[in-house]
């Protein structure tokens, strides 16, 4: 029972810090590929599909 709890806790820690480490790496790669500019380009124009004009 105690070892199962310990394994569960280790898994949670690995996932938590794994995701925390991976997220900035993905954001960094995205910045390097200038994906944020694609997001900006889309977001500064009225998205006709989003508002239901099509």
């Amino acid at each position: 029972m105690r070892s199962a709890l310990k394994t569960r806790e280790k898994t949670i820690l690995a996932l938590r810090f794994g995701a925390l480490g991976l997220a900035p790496v993905l954001i960094g790669i995205g910045f390097f590929r200038q994906e944020h500019l694609d997001v900006l380009q889309k977001a500064v124009r009225i998205c006709l599909e989003c508002i239901g004009i099509g």
Binding site: A19, L20, G28, I46, C47, C50
Partner: protein, 291 residues
């Protein structure tokens, strides 16, 4: 507590104002075009809302997948960061459309509890919406010569209709002229969700929201956690009765459906429920103090 504004509501209102701080946009019927729109907000907040200062992550994800042949590193990384820090606290504390549903549920009308045998499978619908409308269809239908429209935004998203469509159509007669059957459909979806919200708590969050589905994947290991002190718990069941998302608080307090609204914490008579950021290790109930 009656008559007093809760901490959850204060945070929700501040977040809604923060993400939609371009007040002049509502007056002018125009959207914000500043550089902050290169950044995704953590919530479902349409970037075509006249007040929006940031980009909607679900809209941005669909655009990245449906318009270009590349993996959406930036949007996925941003979503992952919000997810691992907050989990579904984003839904319970920050989402403006969640706030709208919460307020509508305050209207004194008969409240419905969806039968468990319907409710449980229906909760998986949001994962289907995320997988199919947001990820798979845009990713697989896009070609070198054609782009795939943001299908979730186009056919399902009620936040876009409420926050973007209605204010822009009210302010711009030219847009009103071109609104047709699609707007009618989206208005119908919005009306159905808003009406349902008066009797069922947060139906959109429970059954349809792809962003909630994404954050749910992080709920068990996010830094922000709910905690149950089993030594203090007297098993009265008040927390489970108060939970608007029907989480089994005493069995699985950090279940994917928990939106960290804090209602279980507020009603617990012994203070057994708490919430906060886990420092390093997994959150465990505090040890019983020696007499």
């Amino acid at each position: 507590m009656r008559g007093r504004i809760s901490r959850q509501r204060v945070i929700q209102l501040l977040a809604a104002a923060l993400f939609n701080g371009y007040a002049a946009g509502f007056r002018k019927g125009r959207i914000f075009t500043g550089g902050s729109k290169a950044f995704c907000v953590p919530v479902l907040n349409c970037y075509s809302c006249p007040g929006a200062l940031g980009a909607c992550p679900i809209g941005a994800l669909q655009t990245a997948l449906g318009a270009k042949h590349h993996f959406p590193f930036y949007v996925l990384g941003t979503l992952m960061l919000f997810g691992v820090i907050l989990g579904r606290a984003v839904c319970g504390l920050l989402c403006p459309f969640g706030l709208v549903q919460d307020l509508l549920h305050k209207i004194p009308l008969p409240k419905l509890t969806v039968p468990r045998r319907l409710d449980r499978p229906a909760r998986y619908l949001k994962y289907l919406v995320l997988a199919l409308l947001v990820v798979l269809l845009p990713a697989f239908l896009v070609t070198d010569t054609s782009i795939v429209p943001p299908l979730f935004c186009k056919y399902l998203c009620p936040a876009g209709t409420l926050g973007g469509g209605i204010p822009l159509l009210l302010a711009d007669p030219n847009l009103r002229k071109v609104a047709g059957a699609l707007f009618g459909w989206k208005a119908l979806v919005l009306a159905a969700i808003l009406l349902a919200s008066m009797s069922v708590h947060r139906p959109f969050c429970k059954y349809l929201c792809p962003l909630g589905a994404f954050y749910a994947l992080f709920n068990r290991f996010s830094f922000f956690q709910m905690r149950l002190d089993e030594h203090k718990c007297v098993g009265c069941g008040k927390c489970e009765a108060a939970c608007p998302m029907q989480v089994e608080v005493t069995k699985d307090i950090n279940a994917p459906e928990c939106i960290r609204c804090g209602k279980c914490k507020a009603v617990c008579p012994t203070g057994a429920v708490s919430s906060g950021f886990a420092r390093g290790g997994a959150s465990r109930p505090a040890k019983k103090e020696a007499p």
